[in-house]
Symmetry: D3
Subunit: 194 residues, 6 copies
């Protein structure tokens, strides 16, 4: 959003009267606040995209704080359909990586300590695991104001309505009974808390 | 690639002397030829991207023929990191769908018969299952000359070197033993044959 | 259109409430149905763009079925102002080509049989002629949800109001009388039927 | 081209050592010099694109001087496959217009005098005719460093090798004999002189 | 804006009913009319962007006439946040240049006479000074329908409310008293007249 | 850079043999290390762009650590010609803002404490001042792998060769003697140390 443009709808978002835009429309706060992590993954994402920060509209950036509980909490394999990412560790020790597509499926991974960052190329699967016994915190930035998050396992096994179990059994080399059992479980996204 | 431009490298591809470019650089053949499908998934992708068709360079399109064996063959859940897709069924009956990202994980799926097509939005997970007892054939088109294919299960369980099993156990709600067993299996991509 | 975005107007198209979007918004049917061809050109285009398929919005793809009557029916020289194209022959035998711009005006053409395809670079003039004595069918895909079609002769000689005949006489090396005679004729676009 | 970037090939153009770039790489001269017009169309285009001005690389602009002889000289119907245009008249009186695509073929035209300008949307057919009895001059700007020019009649009737005359006869409602006669004529592009 | 599209809001601009669009929506006039220049800088910009010319919407071009009073009038250092530029001199003699960013700050400048033009790369600071004793006129074209103009000194010293004088004192190596004095002056933009 | 693409030159950067790409090509370190600040501005920028991190190529992101000495150190008014930015404060207290272009010159500014962030729209002038009596640290992210930095005062007064002092005197309302004095000073960019 560019304050001195007269706009009404831009990219599907309703824009304020430019005379009423203030610095608060470009402001994000609380990125330093430790968030309670969920039980299932031990992780918590706090997103600032165009939905939270109107001034990001047309500026093609988002920022995300990620809290990790100690000992194995996980931001599980996921993609952003419309963005690349740089993830920077602020606290703790993460094992982070991404995997290239067919036919190589090469993993590019690093142990990241505070001050380390890793680039996740546009649209590739990536993840972070807290391999330390303390909480960890990371800041991730994405080059879209609306990057999307597709947590792979949750999307595939937690879809509504359920994906045909034959699809998942054959794709993942799993018994169909195990697939249907998995489909009945609760899949808590890393940006949700319970 | 635009024939009357003097080019050498464009988008990382070596370009011919424009005077030597011919119609064959823009030509694709064999899209009507039934391909032998692989044993594992019963499916076979034949891609025409900029790697096969130099004339696609700068023209942001690819085309893929997909052969499905009868009775449950599967183009398993996958994404294209850099493209949206329209898939058109030429023969047989497919159950095809895509799943939206967090937080909804809604599945949008249809049974597709010859002459039916489905749009897969940019970067979202999608799949096709042959629910008929005959072979099926589809033509998929993508809006990138280099769309990439990330077959989800193969990429995650077949990565080289292997992903830390703790990541996959926690992400997919699977016993760690099962994860390591899966990681030892062979994961045949739908564009490979064996 | 991305189902889990709250949108109202995107790219000038009114978007549904995302909760009311269904798989039908991403679905195309009838691409296998033989269409009656027009008398004038013997051809018929059936387009699926964002105007017919709301889910194509933001996904930069369209698909077109083209029916050709036997013996010389023609999809006449035309351009897409906002797209490149891949045309695939499903039935019959087409002579298809495109022509590069100034100063070379080189023609790149091929005889296409079922399973053959040709790339038409962004914005260049191209055409297809049915050189067989049977009906022909092609599927064309374009990398825009709103590619536009400019059938050259129809646009130039069938403009409303008419183009100054001096322009066309001098441009096309035609007698002015012939130009004005041509301007009075009916110019049936290949996506119209009569 | 951005002078303080270390570049070698960008967009298929060889880039100088940035330390050797000078203001001359960004400089165009002679836009005020009357050019001899060709006999055939009475017009002459002088282009400044990335081929003449290396500094236009990555800057997505070109500029063209157009000279028109008195009394009916013509920049004939043409398209730019990769650009929109603003044409400004500096001297004389032009009748200029563009035509929309299927199905409307609406002509949008104006008589332009010095200081008047007209926008030609991306990829649409447009032309200018000198309706005055004095020379005319226009400056056209395009939003690509490599816009391309496709002079319609010259491209279609002057293609090398020739387009199948059946295509042109049916498309343009012309006798095949007239088509083959036209195909033997000389088609002088407005950016050539003879 | 493309006349045969049904649009309502595109890029935040309200679009007319396409049936009511006329050639006037694509027309600009008065580019040859000498404009009164302001006292402060001796310069006057007359802009034609999407705000004045609806047909520029989606066509990524603007055009600007710049009038310069004799003897030292100045289009002061400025940037266009969203465009590159070609500036062509129609009358008079300008000294024009641009400066590259950190770390080189190289100036690329030329004396421009009628028929000379200079490219200003996207987002770099540039300026023009009338070094002749006659009026000068230039036409500038930009590759955005909404390029923006940031006149550097006016923006920094004439901001509302004022920038903290410590910022400007330290950045510009100026006494704080001089900064606050400058901040109280009137800063007339080159597109304003008084 | 996408590891499983065969590339040689992309965006003017030489790409490694993809088989030799490693995680280190996507890795950044030292973002937590306090850097010595320069004497002149009391600030220090440490950039990670495509020049330092090859894996950023085609991924349109950069990251910058900014160190501020206590008590009034300044990242002076500057622009990024090819990027928008989000700046996040990690330590200390910054007064940060941006200014809109002509005609409003509105300042949008906030006092930022740890965990606060501000969006700087694409191409607009912005700055940060350490208003605390302790060191401050910020992380800035930009949506280009090659964003460029144009420190305004340094670029204008420290250009090589010098800008005509008449330009700067008139633009900045400064005596010509003061301008030439300023032009002889040393202008240390915030990404340089001395």
């Amino acid at each position: 959003m560019i304050p001195n443009m007269v706009v009404m709808f831009v990219n599907g978002k309703f824009c304020k009267d430019p005379e009423k835009v203030t610095a608060d429309d470009f402001f994000i706060t609380g990125l330093n606040v430790r968030k309670q992590t969920s039980k299932q993954l031990g992780v918590r994402l706090t997103l600032s995209t165009v939905d939270q920060v109107p001034g990001l509209n047309t500026n093609a950036l988002s920022i995300v704080r990620i809290d990790f509980a100690p000992n194995g909490s996980l931001n599980p394999p996921h993609i952003h359909p419309r963005a690349a990412e740089i993830l920077t560790v602020l606290e703790g020790t993460l094992y982070a990586g991404f995997i290239t597509g067919n036919p190589d499926h090469r993993i590019f991974a690093k142990i990241l300590k505070p001050g380390d960052a890793l680039v996740f190329p546009h649209g590739l699967i990536h993840f972070q695991l807290n391999i330390g016994n303390t909480p960890a915190v990371a800041l991730a930035v994405l080059n879209s104001q609306n990057p999307g998050v597709v947590t792979i396992a949750n999307t595939i096994f937690g879809a509504t309505p359920s994906v045909n179990p034959d699809v998942l059994s054959r794709a993942f080399h799993l018994d169909k009974d195990l697939v249907t059992k998995l489909q009945k479980e609760e899949w808590v996204d890393p940006d949700q808390l319970y």
